[in-house]
């Protein structure tokens, strides 16, 4: 089980801020592929990965990163702080 969090327009497109997912995905890209096949709203959120960033256990990471021992994955658009 892995906690998946969504922020900003990713959260709005998917329609929820957080969910717990049972997955056998071994990388972030695998998890994204799995989510995209679920429902149209996931497909809409993940259509363009270049517009997305990912954090693993609250550290910025990459889509090819492994998911082993990861408890929390977060997807969001490029950050706009300051």
């Amino acid at each position: 089980m892995i906690d998946v969090l969504y922020f900003a327009w990713v959260r709005e497109r998917i329609g929820l801020p957080k969910e717990r997912i049972e997955t056998s995905a071994t990388t972030v890209a695998d998890l994204v592929a799995e989510l995209r096949e679920r429902e149209e709203r996931y497909e809409a959120a993940f259509a363009d990965l270049s517009a997305l960033r990912v954090a693993l256990d609250q550290e910025l990471s990459d889509f090819d990163a492994p998911l082993a021992d990861v408890r929390e994955v977060a997807f969001f658009p490029p950050m706009t702080g300051g």
Partner: protein, 148 residues
């Protein structure tokens, strides 16, 4: 060296923060402060809402501040960043740096801002004319990191 990072929805008192920052540290001859304000370029902005990633935000800001500390000789670093609803003209955030001489404080403050803009998990949403839109990240923000 002290790093003070605060992420909060409440407003902050810039005057009081600037006044107490590095107070009593007479070895630090230079203090630089930067304040980010909700901008309303053409008078159409109804307000802004800032979303963040509780937990990661604090860690990311601590990490950015620690990296600044490793690169420059700093006596004190302060980062305050708000989230939630803000009106035009309100202060969103501030950074303050203190060093013995001004070059370190100036450069570290710029570094903090450059990294804070695109490496700390905040997202701005603007409301204008009854419509809401997420503020898009600028290519220039990413390019700005290359100079460091």
């Amino acid at each position: 060296m002290a790093i003070d990072v605060r992420v909060q929805d409440a407003p902050f008192d810039f005057g009081a923060e600037a006044d107490s920052f590095a107070a009593g540290r007479s070895d630090l001859g230079a203090v630089v402060t930067f304040t980010g304000i909700v901008r309303d370029t053409d008078g159409a902005l109804d307000g802004m809402e800032i979303e963040h990633y509780p937990g990661m935000t604090e860690k990311a800001l601590q990490k950015i501040a620690a990296e600044a500390e490793a690169r420059w000789s700093l006596g004190e670093v302060l980062v305050i960043h708000r989230f939630g609803k803000l009106a035009a003209g309100e202060r969103i955030m501030m950074v303050a740096t203190a060093s013995a001489h001004r070059a370190h404080a100036f450069e570290a403050a710029e570094y903090l801002m450059d990294y804070l803009k695109s490496r700390a998990p905040f997202w701005k949403k603007e409301r204008a004319g009854g419509a809401e839109s997420w503020v898009a990240a600028k290519d220039a923000d990413e390019t700005a990191l290359k100079r460091w």
